[in-house]
Symmetry: C2
Subunit: 213 residues, 2 copies
């Protein structure tokens, strides 16, 4: 948030979230460079000075969309992973958390995947660090899965990690068809990925549907 | 190509390819909306009138990058698939063809994945049709793989198709690390994907490396 607005009331926090969601929609539709704070003012029905109370610039707005999305998806993930021991279950949680979160925030997902390069300087460094933290966490889980299942070396962990993120972020294309609920979609992606990664079907104890053979 | 340049000599064709590759680099770096024909002129060392001999507008340039990439990757794929019967081998060919092609054309891949929305009108319709043709071909191969292996319904075919493209296009992120040759990377992705899709390791007769268990 802007330097001059260090703490927000619950009401302001809600307004900020709404502005970020609307800005993400506009950036996703027009592209960051084509969008303006004036577009946001118009669409959100908030005056320019009302917007500048929360953001000092369009750059900060772009940063905050990415920063909040990544922080939220990461902190939710860490919360859900606490106390979970089985590596395959951790991987399942990661996929469900990512797909569940971004199915609700498709515009933010698009901003994260398409407008990372539009960030500059310190903003870019901070987002790069968060992305790295997220992908390292994913790699660690994959390492655990491999170790615990005795799976062979189908792919190096960095390749598997980036393939998994590519797969999860494909919901951007696939999900708009809108035929599959996010929970089911996440389970499909989990089964697609983990089956290839460990070389056999996952033990399906925690899978909502029965075995499909 | 521009309406006023209906047929090109081999020399001109080569120059056109070079201009398209340079334009893809510029669009990938700056984003389509931020790039100009003047940037292309400067980087390629070709006069504006030299460029306008091949393209009537920046829009046409964007269209041609996408059109040529998709047509080439599709026609190469169809050529390689001719005479191949085994569905898993077809899938393997598709993945190797896509990864092999775009590993050499990372800028074009980025333009295809990031700047589709920047296309308008008839240009957009044509690229949408090519994308659809490509993804339908992929879906048909997956349907054959499922049928021939008796694989269960891990994921609906449209979800599996878009997950596979997401995975293949992840080389955009992963490949820049540059640690894995394109051929190896394609084989990793094939094994990651097909193992999950059919629920067991692929028969590895056609796989260059030995079984990894």
């Amino acid at each position: 948030m802007a330097e001059h607005a260090p703490s927000l009331s619950a009401n302001q926090e809600e307004k900020l979230e709404r502005l970020l969601a609307t800005a993400a929609e506009i950036f996703a539709e027009k592209g960051y460079h084509h969008a303006s704070i004036r577009d946001l003012s118009r669409r959100a029905g908030v005056s320019l000075s009302g917007i500048y109370y929360y953001f000092s610039s369009k750059e900060e707005l772009l940063f905050m969309i990415q920063d909040r999305s990544l922080r939220t998806v990461l902190s939710e993930l860490k919360r859900k992973l606490a106390g979970v021991d089985r590596p395959e279950e951790k991987l399942r949680i990661l996929i469900h958390n990512h797909v569940g979160f971004f199915a609700q925030k498709m515009a933010a997902m698009r901003v994260l995947t398409h407008e990372y390069d539009a960030l500059e300087g310190g903003y870019r460094d901070k987002i790069r660090d968060l992305r790295l933290e997220y992908s390292n966490l994913c790699t660690e889980i994959l390492r655990d899965v491999r170790r615990s299942t005795g799976a062979g070396d189908v792919a190096p962990l960095n390749v598997a990690t980036s393939a998994l993120f590519g797969m999860m972020n494909s919901i951007h294309a696939g999900y708009q068809a809108g035929t599959v609920p996010a929970e089911r979609l996440a389970e499909h992606l989990y089964r697609l990925f983990v089956g290839g990664f460990i070389g056999h079907r996952p033990r399906s104890a925690s899978v909502g549907r029965g075995a499909d053979s």
